[in-house]
Amino acid sequence: MEQVLRQAYAFVFRDYHLTRRYMSWVVVFTFYAVVNSATIAFIGVAAKDRRLTLTLLVGVMLWGFLSVLFNEIANSISYERWEGTLEYTFMAPVSRLIHLLGVSLYAAAYSIVRMFVVLVGLWLLIDLNLGGANLAGFAVVLAVSSLAFIGLGLMAAVLPVVSPERGAEATNIFQGILLLVSGVYYPVEVLPRWLQPLAYVSPATYALRACRKLMGIEGTGEVAQLRGAPLAAVLPELLILLGMGVVMIPLGLFVFGRVEGWAKRTGKLKRTG
């Protein structure tokens, strides 16, 4: 057991030190995230519409968290290919479950810290009165929706194994589609009818809907005082998200294992870049 924990920790250790070594870029990207979030939220402020401001804020915060989580996992393999270390990781006596668990643990921790930094930045720029919102429930939704996004990340992580160059491109396309269809900044009903079914298979749709209920900003009309819904009110969304996580994580591991086997038969693991 101790050995397995050390193996999972290997990825946390590696990713922590890589973050440390690239700290100036982390600062730049986080600064950009704060500014990007604020500019989106200011659209609501300019319209003097508190509901719109908070709707946009929930969208930008939740999407920021989930997309970073997804990206960190999805890009972990392409980064290893780029550095040429993938073969060494794959020939170590560590199971893929432990490997990807370690990567996901660090990705989750990094995403949480980054989200708090962005939140603090927003606090300085925008009048954020969240009194009355169910913030504990918000945290529960984040945790549950993370499972589904970890599963999606695992499936996307396999793309650079299939095609080192095209894989990273496909990951960005996939992420873009999620952003488009999940109702991050607008209700999914404004999408073309033919696109709307995709919203129902995106975990972000349910996470956003749940968070907006917990903030008390679902529906229309003036929002004077936030009255966040209790956690029980978002049980349907939580169950769907949990179900997606339960399906997507094992599916992601399965897909990864199959593609790894294929790459070892066809010689695709070799260093590129």
């Binding site: 101790e2 193996q7 040429g84 170590a92 006596p93 010689g267 070799k270 260093r271």
Partner: protein, 300 residues
């Protein structure tokens, strides 16, 4: 029950690629054809061959990174494919290109590797420093980022990584290519000591005749994916009626080592869709870093 360190019987590995959308055309590259050899426990065995001869493909198969298409492979008694997990616990590999996270320090890279193998950090750090000292790398460079180290230093860190777990089997793919004479000698002396003190079984691929003659009890000549001859250096020279190992290689493998695979340049095997053909040359290689891997040059 005793078993050889490495046992390879009729090993086959080929790579295929399809081109075109409507009228697909398949090409098949045979990287290894019916390769058979054994390495005794505690023996150092050398594989000599030009670029594109299949040396790195063979090392990758033994490292569990490629699945063979035919034949039998056993490492320390464990079968491949099938017992990858057991094999991975017992092998160390050094490749021609020292692949690391270049922004991380030697210490961070080595500790990451140690954790991957489930080692305790303090013990691993102690062992890493011991090995680096034996290889002639000063301890103060331990915390320097790899990107600030010379290729020779990086290669010494790569050898340290392979030896952290003290593996009974070491797979060395041109470990001294590109090193200066002093670093080369440090590595060679270290490998001699390692075999003597730890009884490590070593498979060494190289272009360097002198190095192979110095380190290896037996040597195999690999050309176009085939093992064309094997024996001690003296036996190979006698068999070829040659004065040097270089001349013996030309006589027995039918090509020069130093021509970087020029003799192998030519079209891959062309086969019709769905067919697999068993003749043809190995891949042409343009980069020394990618030496000997027939497939990716064609597939990427």
């Amino acid at each position: 029950m005793t078993h050889p360190g490495i046992s390879v019987l009729n090993l086959q590995k080929y790579f295929s690629k399809r081109k075109g959308v409507l009228r697909t055309r398949g090409t098949t590259m045979h990287a290894l054809r019916d390769v058979s050899f054994e390495v005794a426990l505690g023996e150092t065995y050398g594989l000599l061959g030009p670029n594109g001869s299949g040396k790195s493909t063979l090392i990758r198969v033994l490292s569990t990174l490629l699945v063979p298409d035919g034949g039998e492979v056993r490492l320390l008694g464990h079968r491949l494919p099938g017992e990858e997990r057991l094999v991975r616990q017992k092998i160390g590999r050094v490749s021609v290109d020292a692949a690391f996270y270049k922004k991380l320090s030697a210490r961070e890279n080595l500790l990451y590797s140690a954790y991957l193998y489930g080692l305790e950090a303090r013990a691993a750090e102690r062992r890493a420093l011991e090995i680096l000292e034996q290889l002639g790398l000063e301890g103060e460079r331990f915390t320097d980022p790899l990107e600030e180290m010379s290729r020779g230093m990086q290669q010494k860190v790569a050898i340290t990584r392979a030896l952290l777990v003290n593996p009974p089997l070491l797979l060395l793919d041109e470990p001294t290519t590109g090193l200066d004479p002093k670093s080369k000698r440090d590595v060679q002396t270290f490998l001699e000591n390692l075999r003597r003190t730890e009884g490590t079984t070593i498979l060494l691929t190289s272009h360097d005749m002198a190095e192979t003659e110095r380190l290896c009890a037996r040597i195999g000549f690999l050309a176009k994916g085939r093992l064309t001859a094997e024996g001690t250096a003296a036996e190979l020279k006698r068999q070829a009626g040659a004065a040097s190992l270089d001349d013996a290689f030309i006589a027995l493998a039918g090509e020069r080592l130093e021509e970087e695979g020029d003799a192998e340049k030519g079209a891959p095997d062309k086969v019709a869709p769905g067919e697999v053909e068993t003749g043809g040359a190995a891949a042409d290689k343009s980069s020394a870093d990618e030496a000997d891997e027939a497939a990716p040059a064609l597939t990427e």
